[in-house]
């Protein structure tokens, strides 16, 4: 779906991105992860045909973004970091305008607008002026405008930026719902959002691609990182003894006879850990993948340091 080779963009003397290369397959949901100023938005602007690259090549669905931009634009839906909204229009009017701008026939416009509103939960605000919408709804309208013409590729730049926790969960559900119908490239610097929504990650730092793969693949490449959180009821010393064969064990807390531990081991080991704990006569209360795995990988790649997973 997307082939990127040697992509470079200079703003004056400053290189925003340098020699980026990656491919994205049909139907994938890809997370584009990086700190602020890493070059995410610049890359997405080039993919969205808003900016032209200084060097390199981007091919989307067989069409080059420089020499055949018109064809590319018919296949993409782009949400910039600031949703491009006209405040004086209602949601329905705005989406109909964008649909027609992107080549949807007049007779199909109403059904496409309805479909986009359905996917993004905007039905109830169809007649509302955009200027009166909350930030969360404005972001949703931004996503709806990107998908109203059923593009093959959706490019979403920080779709959860500025949302409250509940709105983030709702937006995550919206993005998950797009899976299958579109190839989705979503950028963020919020790690859980990427971790829980995407099939694969591209990590960019200071304009260069520093890693790509699934969360597990990245953990393996980064030296077997990863952790398992275990909570058991029983003797503390016995719990440590049972878990030690799998990797380093750290006791987080022990209240009465409930012990919470972090085990330095691949999350793939969870079934064997469960069997060992139960086999040792301990009551297994909780067994989960270490929440901080992606943070750890991300920080190591971008700062050269690791936080405790």
């Amino acid at each position: 779906m997307i082939q990127v080779e040697g992509l470079t963009k200079y703003y004056g003397e400053h290189a925003a991105i340098r020699e980026l290369a990656f491919t994205i397959g049909q139907g994938e949901v890809i997370g584009f992860l990086g700190l602020n100023g890493a070059g995410k938005s610049t890359t997405l602007k080039i993919l969205g045909c808003v900016l032209l690259p200084t060097a390199g090549r981007v091919v989307i669905d067989g069409h080059d973004v420089v020499s055949n931009a018109h064809e590319v634009r018919q296949r993409i839906g782009y949400l910039p970091d600031v949703p491009p909204l006209y405040d004086e229009m209602t949601v329905g009017e705005y989406l109909a305008y964008v649909a027609q701008l992107r080549g949807v026939a007049a007779r199909d416009t109403a059904s496409r607008v309805g479909e986009a509103e359905e996917k993004t939960g905007l039905r109830e605000v169809d007649g509302e002026l955009i200027s009166t919408l909350s930030h969360g709804y404005r972001q949703r309208v931004g996503v709806a405008q990107a998908l109203v013409h059923r593009p093959a590729l959706l490019i979403l730049d920080e779709p959860t930026s500025g949302l409250d926790p509940r709105q983030i969960v709702e937006m995550r559900d919206v993005i998950r719902g797009l899976k299958g119908a579109h190839t989705v490239l979503v950028s963020s610097h919020i790690l859980p959002e990427i971790s829980q929504t995407c099939d694969r990650l591209l990590i960019i730092h200071k304009g260069a691609l520093v890693a790509q793969g699934t969360e597990e693949e990245l953990a393996r490449k980064m030296g077997g990182g990863g952790s398992i959180e275990v909570e058991v009821r029983g003797d503390r010393a016995r719990a440590v003894e049972v878990l030690t064969p799998f990797g380093a064990v750290e006791v987080e807390r022990a209240v009465d006879d409930v012990v919470s531990l972090t085990l330095r081991a691949s999350p793939d080991e969870r079934p064997r850990v469960a069997k060992a704990v139960v086999g040792a006569g301990l009551e297994l209360l909780r067994l989960d993948q270490g929440a901080g795995q992606l943070e750890s990988i991300f920080l190591r790649l971008t700062h050269g340091q690791e936080v405790r997973a």
Binding site: K45, H70, P84
Partner: protein, 240 residues
């Protein structure tokens, strides 16, 4: 045609917000005051003279109106972050510029139409040649088209509406003042500056009820060149 789609949205933007009406109302009021004080006032005049003076003042107000109407066209899109929507849609840059210009021109034409009551007042109290009125209005629309196109170019260059208005006003004043340069330079430069002058060389015939092809061609040419330049600015911005 995508340009018409953009024009329709832009025009509805003018009609739905207060700023467009305020611009029209203020300029119409000033135009009316000038008409009353200078065209109708003073010693008694022939109707054709009053009409000529009406077109003289109206031409100035049409230029001012075009600056205020055009300042939002592209600069506002840039200011509010909606330009990426147009850039990422399957449109040619010329469609964006043409759509914006057509909306601005339709709104300017609405303003020009609203001045029609002044020639009608002359008609009620005197004799008016319809040819004179038609030629004068054709001149106003052509002058407005050229000024608005220059304003569209200024709006493409600027990062906000205020800068757009200043840039456009400077360019228009420079074009108007070409006649001064024509007076202080030698041939053949004087002829070139004279031909370039936005008002002095090309509008007075319309004001007197005369339509010369060279004047029509001049205003259409300025419109085309300015819109072409605005399109180039949009294209160049993709490289930045």
């Amino acid at each position: 045609m995508k340009a018409l789609l953009i024009a329709r949205r832009e025009l509805s933007g003018y009609l739905r917000t207060l700023s467009g009406y305020v611009v029209i109302a203020v300029i119409l009021a000033l135009n009316g005051l000038f008409f009353n004080a200078y065209a109708l006032g003073g010693a008694s005049k022939r109707s054709a003279e009053v009409l000529s003076q009406f077109f003289y003042y109206s031409s100035g107000f049409t230029i001012v109106a075009s600056v205020f109407i055009s300042m939002r066209l592209l600069a506002e899109e840039r200011q509010t972050g909606t330009l990426p929507l147009l850039y990422s849609s399957p449109l040619r840059d010329r469609d964006i510029v043409l759509g914006k210009f057509l909306a601005g021109f339709a709104f300017l034409a609405l303003y020009v139409l609203c001045t029609l009551y002044m020639p009608l007042l002359v008609l009620v109290n005197g004799k008016v040649s319809f040819g004179h009125v038609a030629a004068g209005y054709l001149g106003l629309l052509l002058l407005g088209s050229a000024s608005l196109a220059v304003g569209t170019f200024g709006s493409a260059l600027a990062r906000n509406q205020l800068l757009a208005a200043i840039t456009s006003a400077v360019m228009l004043v420079a074009l108007i003042l070409c006649w001064l340069l024509a007076r202080i330079t030698e041939q053949p430069l004087a002829d070139v500056f004279s031909a370039m002058s936005l008002w002095n060389q090309h509008f007075p015939p319309f004001q007197s009820g005369l339509v010369h092809v060279r004047d029509v061609v001049y205003y259409l040419l300025v419109t085309y060149v300015a819109l072409f330049a605005a399109t180039r600015v949009l294209e160049a911005r993709r490289w930045r």
